[in-house]
């Protein structure tokens, strides 16, 4: 069937093809880069591409981003048809693993400079047996809270909260004052509740990597207290959110905060650059408050983006040259400072020039890092744990489900397909 389809197709459409002019062959090799980071387009055009082309005459770069929402679907279709770009921005974990298994991404083990990445940095783009890494890690993003310093001054909050009790005491103060919406977050897009809520505050309860691994090994369940507690805290956030937060979308929250109408914005380091451009007030940041004073702190330090090579590229040599460059300290330096908030995954210190980014990065020294709990292995089946977490986190904040019900639903869904490795 498939064969005959193609035959007919070929015969009938090739007539039209004759009308299309043959493309001109350029002397330079041009690499097309697929990415979902459409926000970064100007930075690539102005900083990263010129830096690369200066050091590599004969290779031109064409950064071709797709909106994040459509990226996976569009990329997969293009890879299947062989029209995808030469270099592919890799989503962490299973989405890219699947591409590697289908032979659409090549191994990156032999790219010079791979030794600059630790095993943890490579974890998002490495096979389960840890033998092959198929993308060159680029950056991680950190979770945390951004706050409006003017708002804190006006209300009389001296220092950002360190514990959950202080956090709620501050929220209460801001609410009582009435000038600012205490917390800028909405639930209609659902992923904010999960990513900037649950995954942001959760690691302090489930103790980061310890809890995450225990879940994968089947030693803990999502109904255990340390996994229900973040939902309980989220439920307590609801009274401090803006009016009608149930219909508040992600850009609404961003504008609410940058226009100076909200005091605290639960988020991640990726907002640093856009916020700096838009906010007219001083901003500060603080890590997720710990449950009790003196508790160890954990932060979501999530491997987010990497680059791999399309197995069908016509310029494998040039693509490898580019990948090797992304593994170099030069790239790390340019990238981290052009995009403050995206922290290079290379070992060794990168000098941060942005003060907020610097502060985010400093948490790595005092707190323990962990990746988002749902990303590795646990979202491989149906129902998909990541999707379910979005839905449940939003339900809890909307008050349509209790934290316990949400946890039970997640665990039940996971139990229906997931068998922990013994």
């Amino acid at each position: 069937m498939a064969f005959s389809t193609r035959l007919v197709a070929l015969a009938s459409v090739s007539a039209c093809a004759l009308l299309a002019a043959a493309p001109a062959v350029a002397a330079d090799v041009t690499l097309t880069i697929e990415s979902w980071r459409n926000d970064d387009l100007p930075i690539w055009q102005e900083k990263i591409i010129p830096a690369f082309e200066k050091g590599h005459p004969g290779i031109k770069l064409n950064f071709q981003p797709t909106a994040p929402k459509e990226y996976n679907a569009a990329l997969n279709s293009k890879l299947d048809a062989g029209t995808a770009g030469d270099v592919i921005a890799c989503r962490p974990f299973d989405a890219s693993l699947e591409l590697f298994k289908k032979g659409q991404l090549t191994s990156a083990n032999d790219i010079p400079g791979m030794d600059r990445f630790s095993a943890v940095a490579k974890a998002g783009w490495t096979t389960d047996d840890a033998k092959t890494t198929y993308c060159v890690p680029v950056a991680a993003v950190l979770g945390g809270f951004i706050y409006n310093k003017d708002a804190f001054d006006k209300v009389g909050i001296k220092a950002p909260p360190k514990t959950v009790d202080e956090f709620f005491a501050d929220l209460e103060k801001i609410k009582a004052d009435g000038t600012y919406v205490p917390l800028a977050m909405g639930t209609i897009d659902q992923w904010e509740a999960a990513t900037m809520g649950y995954q942001n505050i959760g690691p302090n309860y489930w103790h980061g990597e310890d809890g995450r691994k225990a879940l994968i090994e089947g030693r803990q369940k999502l109904t255990d207290p340390q996994w229900v507690a973040p939902f309980q805290q989220l439920a307590r956030w609801a009274p401090y959110l803006g009016d009608g937060y149930k219909a508040q979308a992600y850009p609404d929250s961003q504008n609410l905060f940058t226009l100076g109408r909200a005091a605290i914005y639960p988020t991640g380091s990726w907002e640093i650059a856009p916020f700096a451009a838009q906010a007219q007030f001083k901003m500060g940041v603080f890590p997720p408050p710990v449950p009790k004073a003196g508790d160890p702190c954990y932060i979501s330090d999530h491997v987010d983006i990497a680059f791999g090579m399309n197995a069908k590229t016509k310029q494998p040599a040039a693509a490898k040259t580019f990948l090797a460059w992304t593994a170099s300290p030069e790239f790390a330096q340019i990238y981290s400072n052009a995009l403050p908030g995206f922290f290079s995954l290379q070992s060794g210190v990168i000098e941060q020039t942005n003060p907020l980014a610097k502060e985010f990065a400093s948490w790595r020294e005092t707190c323990k890092s962990t990746i988002r709990s749902t990303y590795q292995i646990l979202s491989r089946g149906t129902p998909n744990l990541e999707n379910e977490t979005w839905v449940e986190a939003a339900n809890v904040m909307n008050g349509t489900e209790t934290p316990e019900q949400a946890a039970q639903k997640l665990q039940k869904g996971l139990d229906s397909w997931f068998k922990p490795a013994k």
Binding site: M1, T5, A73, E98, G244, E386, V391, N395
Partner: protein, 326 residues
Amino acid sequence: MAQVEKLAADLPLLPAAMVGAEALARARRWHILVFLAPALLVYTVIMILPLIDTLRLALFRRVDGVPMFVGLDNFNILFFDPRWSGHFWSALGNNLYFFAFHMLLQNPIGVALAALLSVPRLRGQAFYRTVFFLPTMLSFVIVGFSWKVILSPLWGVAPTLLGAIGLKSWFHPWLGQEATALTTLALISVWQYVGIPMMLIYAALLGIPAEVTEAAELDGVTGLAQFWKIKLPLILPTIGICSILTFVGNFNAFDLIYTVQGALAGPNFSTDILGTFLFRTFFGNQLQLGDPNMGAAIATMMFLIILLGVSLYLFGIQRRMRRYQF
């Protein structure tokens, strides 16, 4: 392609009664082909064959990367595995609600607007017609964005307007509540698409020959009575077309909900219809990988549902409808 060849082979058997002379029949056979060939060719190659290629996937499943024939097992999963069936039935239920809402609002409003517009010598007809059709021409990107802003509790267009007439307390974050989200989206969709039935029915009303209405007026049938007794029966076939277009459109709907609520069709899947369920399954979402096999199974079901609806219309309703030739 095969159909075209079959057609060519069949043509010599044309009923002779219609044509008369055999020479004429021979001449006829080629121009029918000429009339049909371009449409059939493009349509078959670009649309039907790729779709068959996709639907065929419903009978397979990838096991360790290798496609395996599993017969109807994917449908078994879709209907009876609680992990899938819950979503499927709820999406189907939401879709039926979405469609019923359109039938009850969109088409009657369309007929009413067309009837008002076709009042003879009404001033500003062209203006109204253009304005009423405007929403239909907008992309989902624009429709979704503007309504989200209007209904946003933060930017206050809807709350302000309601406040102006003293009904501020009526405002709710409609798009964010499970109980109201789907209805709100259906209303937005009706707003967007009312132009289509309006335009078709307007054209049909204008197409009614003056002799018919004059005769009615001579008999003393005027105004509303004339509309109900004379014009409505004449435009019934057009209303039929509108209904079936609405049905097909609603069961293929996807973009508006995807633009406004995302692929997970929140809150809590309350706005999930077959189109969003299919997109999520076929192409994946965030960490969920695309599953073309289950996606194809859902697509096949959508196809069968629409086929059933269209067949019911074509064989059950359209056949019984009287057609008037002017």
